[in-house]
Subunit: 132 residues, 2 copies
């Protein structure tokens, strides 16, 4: 795997846990799909392979998005914010991004009454996604 | 100020610093503008006033976006992700979101050669934004 290019290394600020935030956005529709974290290795692998790889904080390992579910994210463009502690991944999402089987993890919105309403339907049965 | 509604309080997971991540997106164009943090008070104020208020981790105070620069964010819709630790703010951004005077903080992208290219122009002189 290719290491991070010097210019990228310099622009990205990893936090004290060695992580940088990543927002995934569908490149053509503009849908914000999910937010996750990357460590240096996940970022390098993503740039090298063109398939998005995160760092799972709960499992403490590399999380190759879609490896078990098939719902992969192909990297179209990777953007870095002004202070380098957030990345914007412009991706092509295959199927659904959310483990609930919805297209985006942001499927609930605060409604007029201050409660929550659901915006997005379940497109794929989560059991089918994870072979449950 | 109205406190958070019970359903929102239950859906949002604040981290051990009492913060939740917030991604701001221009509601009509889909541009991802910036990423910042909110504490409970900032979230309640945002929902109550309809003007986006973050928590500044560096200054350790409420950060009413645009208070000094005039580049405010009017809240159109607030979405919560599946595990409640990230919010998506659908906003109407007045002027520019970035302190560099660019529309979005995500103004740099990794180019073919692994370096960085600038995507967005400076629209407002940062000195004009902050009265420098």
């Amino acid at each position: 795997m290719k290491p991070l290019a010097a210019e990228v290394e310099e622009a990205v600020t990893f936090n004290d846990q060695g992580l940088v935030l990543a927002v995934a956005q569908q490149h053509d529709s503009g849908e914000v799909l999910m937010v996750a974290w990357m460590n240096r290795e996940a970022l390098a692998e993503t740039l090298d392979s063109g398939q998005v790889c995160y760092w799972s904080r709960s499992r403490e390992n590399l999380w190759r998005k879609g490896e078990s579910s098939g719902q992969t994210q192909r990297l179209i463009e990777l953007r870095v914010d002004c202070d380098g502690d957030s990345l914007l991944l412009r991706v092509d999402q295959k199927g659904v991004a959310c483990h609930t089987g919805r297209r985006s993890c942001f499927y609930r919105a605060v409604d007029e009454g201050g409660g929550l309403k659901e915006l997005l339907p379940v497109e794929v049965d989560p059991k089918a996604l994870y072979g449950g």
